[in-house]
Symmetry: C2
């Protein structure tokens, strides 16, 4: 039989420990996905949720240095940028984006942060037969996830990228940053308006709470456009509902997480026991 | 079907968190026992092992204050006495013994420590059809577990209790303490010698490591005596092997842990979701 999703193998005193930290935490899908993946790899490991407020993040990350069987941490909203401060070393994508979503403890006890969100988004698209290559993409939101997704979309060969964030300074900084890394690419500050784009990606949390407005004006959304959201819960955000009603292709949030599981497990060096 | 021992229910973002902290940790049985018990009670909860050295105990306990979905901690060797310092409040058995083996977080966030070792030992004996009532009992070891077991044996109506610890001051302090609480009871400092006792309880860690000597002289061990060990691994310590070879009844370590599961779950207020 197939065991239930999210159920780890039997726990014992020698089980290795992983966690996901966020605030709120009830909506996260990582415990389900990672515990299933650990069991599939016959790894004696478990991943648990940790509900931690921003002011307490440093204290909790530091305590992991003291827990010898603690090997890795998934970091989610709102900690992805702040967590940068509390690790010892950054991988290339965390350096590029100024945000991390994963921390592993090295053999020497050092904490190494990396960001797999962008790679996860692009891999998730590919797993659903979609692509950003050669297309005009509008990214809404330039926070931790938005930065990671925008950099990955640039790396994946988008034709042009428009960026919107309600914070003008943050929006401008991300445009400049991507331009600096990819001088030939057409990257620009955009309005929150679907007009002229054929891929829309919502990287804000707008749509997570009941009664949220749409994160952009979709009056001129083209019916051939692909509309993607990175929100995990609800899976069908108001934006995706509206896009589907117009006949657009849609792409749901959990794919970004599924798209990075293998990369994160490799980063954690989770292997079947020898 | 019966699910495998130690396997919790499916984990999600709303799973409540429990842990056992010790050094070493690989030998502990709590993850197996508690995760099975959580699943039997349909509780959305998981208990994980934490390997933490004595110098780091305070930092790890303090970090639990910051983890909102963390509800409780089992505390094992060598932290049972030191942990007293880092909680906000003690239950009656922890106050009596000066050691704790369980911490729960109250609704107000305060950490409350209690000790279920003694109750667990006496309940575990009863579950195997054994008793200390009316018998002459020798307790070897006056550390955290020894204190708890000796107080519980006194409460359970032993006829007399001899106490040995290699540390004379610790041995004397425990004798005085039990005498103070039970003025009528025959409690005295004893040698590590089975002569004259009909129940022997090893509460030291001697027997955990290969090549350990016996924790007492059993030359004069009576064949009608009951010999108990609280060591979890190996289940058959050299002391129990030698006692069985002489025809004595024996009592193994895991019974003490099993004997306190229900009491600890009640203390944690673990209930099936409503």
């Amino acid at each position: 039989m197939t065991a239930a999703l999210g159920v780890p193998g039997p726990l014992s005193g020698s089980t290795r420990l992983y966690a996901i930290v966020g605030d709120p935490i009830a909506q996260v899908a990582s415990p389900g996905l990672f515990n299933t993946a650990f069991r599939e790899r016959s790894a004696d490991a478990v991943l648990v949720p940790l509900h931690v407020a921003p002011a307490e993040l440093q204290r909790v990350i530091d305590s992991f240095r003291a827990i010898r069987n603690f090997d890795g941490l998934i970091v989610t909203v709102p900690h992805k940028i702040a967590a940068i401060e509390w690790v010892d070393e950054l991988g290339p994508n965390a350096s590029l984006t100024g945000a991390l979503n994963t921390i592993r403890k090295g053999d020497d006890g050092r904490l190494i942060g990396e960001n797999f969100d962008g790679e996860g988004f692009v891999r998730g698209l590919a797993s659903r037969g979609q692509t950003v290559t050669g297309r005009r993409v509008l990214v809404i939101g330039a926070g931790g996830a938005g930065c990671a997704v925008a950099h990955a979309i640039a790396a994946a060969g988008a034709h042009a990228i428009g960026l919107f964030d309600i914070d003008a300074r943050r929006r401008r900084a991300l445009v400049d940053d991507i331009k600096g890394h990819r001088p030939g690419l057409d990257v620009f500050e955009a309005k929150p308006d679907a007009l002229g784009f054929d891929v829309i990606v919502n990287c804000t949390s707008v749509g997570m709470r009941t009664g949220d407005p749409l994160p952009l004006d979709i009056t001129h959304l083209a019916s051939h456009a692909l509309v993607a959201d990175i929100i995990l819960k609800p899976v069908m955000t108001p934006l995706l509902v509206a896009a589907r009603a117009r006949g657009c292709a849609i792409h749901q949030g959990p794919a970004m997480l599924e798209g990075q599981i293998d990369a994160v497990l490799d980063f954690f060096a989770v292997r079947a026991p020898t």
